[in-house]
């Protein structure tokens, strides 16, 4: 079941504050965040986020197409380097 529309998209309050502040000042300093569940708002476009993937922060540059997705979708949490090759 999807989220009620009257609540609006979920974004961590501190993220809104930080992005809003930067937009006022016109700066685009990367914002470090653990809030992977936050939805990307149109205001976020052009900003860079450092999204935590459980181990490290991955740089995510937000483009227009990403609006409506969540930050976590762009910071994969799993590493898969392929299956083990048989060695002799």
């Amino acid at each position: 079941m999807s989220r009620s529309t009257h609540k609006g998209p979920f974004v961590h309050p501190s993220l809104i504050k930080k992005v809003g502040g930067q937009n006022l000042k016109g700066t685009k300093i990367p914002i470090q965040t653990w809030s992977r569940a936050s939805v990307i708002l149109p205001e976020f476009v052009g900003h860079t986020f450092n999204v935590h993937n459980g181990r490290a922060f991955l740089k995510v540059y937000v483009t227009e197409d990403m609006v409506g997705h969540r930050l976590g979708e762009f910071a994969p949490t799993r590493t898969f380097r392929g299956h083990q090759k048989k060695d002799r």
Partner: protein, 125 residues
Amino acid sequence: MPRLLGVDIPNEKRIETALQYLYGVGQHTARKALAELSIKGSVRAKDLKDDEVATIAAYLEQHFVVEGALRRSNLQNIARLKEIYCYRGLRHRRGLPVHGQRTRCNARTRKGPRKTVANKKILRK
């Protein structure tokens, strides 16, 4: 045999059913279109008059996204996901299930035929 929207040639079935051979038209859309145009769903496709065929085609094109246009928009949606490097896009790229299904076993629809790994059991030990 009547031709509808380009290549599709529905056959000797009731039009209600024959329409569903179009990409993007299911039972609901087919019935709705016929009701709207007051054509009986039980008429066989071959018995349709030419002008009826034309009105059905026009109606479907106008009110629904079907056939080529639908295929194109689907592909574009997937291409968009691939482009922005989101999780779903990565799953599409890899040819793995997109909606969080398990992949330890099954998932054969996406992964294709099994690729047997020789001596898998021995290697694990």
